[in-house]
């Protein structure tokens, strides 16, 4: 099966029901996308599938054949993603950092869809878990990004 990831085409040997997460991590060696729970509870494994934030730990790889997949490794190639990273750095968001790939992907998906999201929209989308409790820093970074959406 062929996968489109970060604008490159890969031929993949894994079984079709293998979660996308493990294809990305083990077969392609892209370890920026994290395993946290395996049951779509925490969001550490979030990637973009055709621009939609998707929990790759429960996404069978054969269901995304033909889709354009974006992982954290390509985040700065995306203009919105680059701004998200800048805001994350400016607000010093990460602590341990383990969940942050997923947080950045979720933020990027939202801002690409809705450049000036409301607080409610942000709250509805930014639901990934963070055991270090960086939620307020994420909120502050998102507020900045939402305000700056026009300029992006």
């Amino acid at each position: 099966m062929e996968l489109r990831i970060n604008r490159e085409t890969y031929s993949v040997q894994s079984e079709g029901d293998t979660p996308l997460l493990w294809v990305i991590r083990d077969e392609l060696g892209l370890t920026g996308t994290k395993y946290g729970c395996g049951i779509a509870q925490c969001g550490a494994c979030s990637v973009l599938v055709d621009g939609v934030v998707t929990r790759s730990c429960v996404t069978p790889v054969d269901s995304v054949e033909g889709s354009e997949i974006t992982t954290i490794e390509a985040i700065e190639a995306d203009e919105t993603g680059r701004r998200v990273v800048e805001a994350w750095v400016a607000h010093q968001v990460p602590q341990c950092g383990y969940c942050q790939s997923g947080q950045v992907m979720a933020a990027t998906a939202l801002l690409r869809e809705s450049p000036n999201p409301s607080e409610e929209e942000i709250a509805a989308v930014m639901v990934n878990l963070c055991r270090c409790g960086t939620y307020n820093a994420i909120k502050a970074a998102m507020a900045d990004l939402a305000d700056g959406g026009e300029r992006g």
Partner: protein
């Protein structure tokens, strides 16, 4: 495009992680050979640093610092980074005295070795825990920076032909003002490397009034990597030829494999390399982890009941163990306990009192639930050495035990300590709870490097728990309604005595009762005691340890006594702290921060009924006071604002402190609102976050922090923000609802909106 086998080979170089890992390997292998490096003693026999005479820990400059030609400073930190910001703090402290901007630092965790056992008052010891890192190494790491600066100046003197007394430094450079010449640290490093380290007593430290980086909100060094997926954790470690492994643990600790009924089928599953019988676990090794996990989960194992006594410091989980029943048993535990702290004569005063306030409180077991599941990569090398990429809070201890597991000398084990994806006490040396013995056994068995990852479900099965406590309080008041006597008898096993066994001389585990003990309030008669009850569960340290539960227990009962005496809980605290300037200031600070103390209940602008609660704690050498504002929404506690004043005496980085308080507030709230590790029939009820909820973003309150620098000896920061949070919330809820919250989590209680 698309030739995957080729891509897989090249990926390690592209993904960042393995490059770091192999670079460490390169340095180890070629110690001293890298031109332009000021360092390179990485603790292996024969390395340049080792060849020198024994030196006091923290003084062998080349063991810690490498200055690259471009002036980048590579620092090996005695403490591991897991989100608490210690790498940045170390760069600030060393950079201040070295005269190098912390932004030019690259920090990694140091290997095991005596050089890095820098913790003041703890010779031969090295952990990242107890909120000890900065406060126990502050002096040593400053001195280290100053020693390195002296070496660079000596080297510069020779190159510039000027006496050291005419030289000064500016960040990253030695300057000869008289001639207008200067040399960058990167240019000087090769010469400085060959100089002997000066006498540690010969260097003078910078006047704190002239600090440029200490006490400033210096940006963290790891934030960009962590925002772009480039940060490498143990679970990400990759080496050439590596296999992956997953395990299925016995459902109860102590059980062993009888037979695996479908072992042949497992071996035939796609991608499976081999199936292994390990102590208390089936392991499957495969080319990829998902294949290993699928097979490990499919294993149909006849588990044998434990036979004989457990190994020292391990416990066999009984088939009928239930946490609810265990809590009830703790509640009924007989006796008055062994005394941990006493003043006056509380038993006598209570015995003679006309009215005694009594209440029993409970704190449950809780899980660490750090987001990175445990993983370890083990690689045996042709020369018989072992490389281990292992999440850990104590490299020397892991090295010693890994050597035993591998059957080789400790010096032949290289411990790599990657960034931790959260720790909170999870990554100490915990027999039965760390995956590295499995990784070592499997790497040995298959003759290739093996990375073991525990699935989230296996992690919940083998995680160490924060102890459970049931605490019986009694108190009595004087005629003015002020506390006259207080007794706390806690049925509990402390984490240290659970891990290492009870003290043979009968000394109690102070961590069992810390937070019940050590309270500053002027109550004339106090007795704190522990009824030791051995747990069938495996216990561990959890962020803020005994304080994580005991301050909830004590500070909540304190409010009960205040209510009984008709006293406002904030005013009563102030009154009982009269004469204690530090804590009086702290309590006033949090009151001010919250806009002035008001308990409520009151109606907020949104129409909700709200109340506030206050609590204090004295954990890990620091002082903290919290105020929480709560309402009840659809039967659930909502925390709107949390104000905290924290006094660690003196500080290194105010921005990191604020981040750590936010983090501690989140974990404290998660605990008081949601968390409880329950067991039924000897097994955890929750094996993932669906059944063990942790604080989600929509339950995070606004957090307001005021850092107070009283000038007291430096205390900790990673943990002290936590303990006052649960009782502040519980006190607010109790006042708002008129229903006393005497157990965590509050989700176990029902409230009317």
């Amino acid at each position: 495009m698309g030739d995957l086998s080729n891509r897989t080979l090249t990926r390690p170089e592209l993904s960042g992680g393995p490059v770091n890992l192999s670079r460490r390997g390169f340095l180890l292998a070629s110690s001293g050979a890298a031109a332009g490096s000021l360092v390179l003693g990485l603790g292996l026999p024969g390395s340049r640093a080792r060849a020198q005479e024994a030196m006091a820990p923290g003084t062998r400059v080349p063991a810690f610092l490498e200055i690259r030609p471009d002036g980048t400073v590579r620092l090996l930190s005695p403490f591991v980074e897991g989100g608490q910001g210690v790498f940045t703090a170390m760069a600030q402290i060393v950079g201040e005295e070295l005269d190098a901007d912390p932004a030019t630092f690259v920090v990694e965790n140091a290997p095991p070795g005596a050089d890095y056992q820098v913790m003041e008052g703890m010779p031969g010891f090295r952990i990242t825990g107890g909120s000890l890192s900065v406060r126990t190494s502050y002096a040593a790491m400053r001195r280290l920076g100053a020693l390195a600066r002296a070496m660079l100046m000596t080297a510069a003197a020779a190159q510039l032909g000027a006496p050291v007394s005419e030289l000064s430094t500016e960040p990253g450079r030695v300057v000869h003002a008289a001639s207008g010449r200067s040399l960058g640290y990167g240019e000087l490093a090769p010469a400085a490397l060959d100089l002997p380290v000066p006498d540690p007593e010969s260097v003078t430290l910078r006047d704190p009034a002239e600090f440029r980086w200490i006490r400033q909100p210096v940006k963290r060094l790891d934030v960009y990597e962590k925002s772009t997926g480039k940060a490498v954790f143990a679970i990400d470690a990759q080496v050439e030829g590596m296999l992956h492994a997953a395990v299925q643990h016995a459902p109860r600790l102590g059980m062993t494999i009888g037979t695996i009924r479908n072992e042949d089928e497992l071996r035939a599953m796609k991608g499976v390399h081999s199936v292994h019988h390990l102590p208390g676990a089936v392991a499957v090794v495969a080319e990829r982890w998902w294949d290993a996990k699928r097979a490990a989960e499919a294993a149909q194992v006849d588990w044998r009941e434990p036979e004989g006594a457990p190994e020292p410091n391990l416990r066999h989980m009984p088939a009928d163990f239930s946490t609810d029943a265990f809590g009830d048993a703790l509640e009924r535990a007989p006796g008055d306990g062994e005394e941990a702290e006493a003043k006056g004569d509380a038993p006598k005063v209570l015995g003679e009192a006309e009215t005694v306030v009594g209440a029993t409180y409970r704190a449950p077991f809780v899980n660490h639930a750090q987001l990175e599941p445990p993983a370890t990569l083990a690689r045996f090398n042709p020369d018989g050495t072992l490389d281990l990429w292992v999440p850990n809070q104590a490299p020397d201890m892991f090295q010693a035990d890994a050597a035993k597991q591998a059957g080789i000398e400790p010096a032949r084990v290289r411990v790599h300590s990657p960034l931790l994806g959260g720790f909170f006490g999870r990554h100490f040396l915990y027999p039965s709870s760390n995956p590295y013995p499995q990784a070592i056994a499997l790497a040995k068995a298959v003759g290739r490097p093996v990375k073991v990852i525990w699935s989230r479900e296996e992690e919940f099965l083998r995680d160490r728990l924060r102890p459970m406590a049931v605490t019986r309080f009694r108190g009595t008041l004087d005629a003015d309604g002020l506390p006259l006597a207080l007794e706390a008898v806690s049925a509990c096993e402390g984490p240290s005595e659970a891990i290492s066994g009870r003290d043979k001389d009968g000394k109690l585990d102070p961590m069992a009762t810390e937070g019940l003990t050590g309270k500053a309030y002027a109550i004339p008669n106090v007795r704190v005691a522990q009824i030791y009850v051995q747990n069938p569960t495996m216990l561990g340290y959890w962020r803020s340890v005994g304080h994580s539960m005991n301050d909830f227990l004590y500070e909540s009962f304190f409010d009960e006594m205040a209510d009984q005496g008709g006293q406002d809980p904030y005013e009563l605290r102030l009154r009982l702290l009269a004469g204690n300037e530090r804590l009086t200031n702290l309590l006033k600070a949090v009151g001010d921060l919250s806009g002035g103390w008001r308990r409520g209940p009151f109606t907020a602008e949104d129409g909700s009924r709200r109340a506030r609660g206050v609590a204090m704690a004295s954990p890990f050498g620091s002082e903290a006071a919290s105020i929480a504002e709560v309402s009840i929404e659809e039967g659930e506690v909502r925390v709107h604002d949390l104000w905290q004043a924290i006094d660690p005496g003196s500080i290194v980085n105010p921005a990191i402190i604020e981040a750590q308080v936010n983090s501690a507030v989140a974990l404290g709230l998660s605990q008081v609102l949601l968390e409880e590790a329950r067991y039924e029939k000897g097994q955890p009820v929750a094996r993932n976050f669906d059944m063990y909820p942790i604080l989600p973003p929509d339950r995070m309150p606004r957090v307001h922090v005021r850092v107070v620098e009283s000038g007291a000896p430096m205390g900790g920061i990673g943990e002290p923000g936590l303990p006052s949070v649960p009782p502040a919330v519980a006190n607010a809820v109790s006042h708002l609802t008129g229903q006393r919250a005497r157990r965590m989590p509050l989700s176990r209680l029902s409230f009317e909106s």
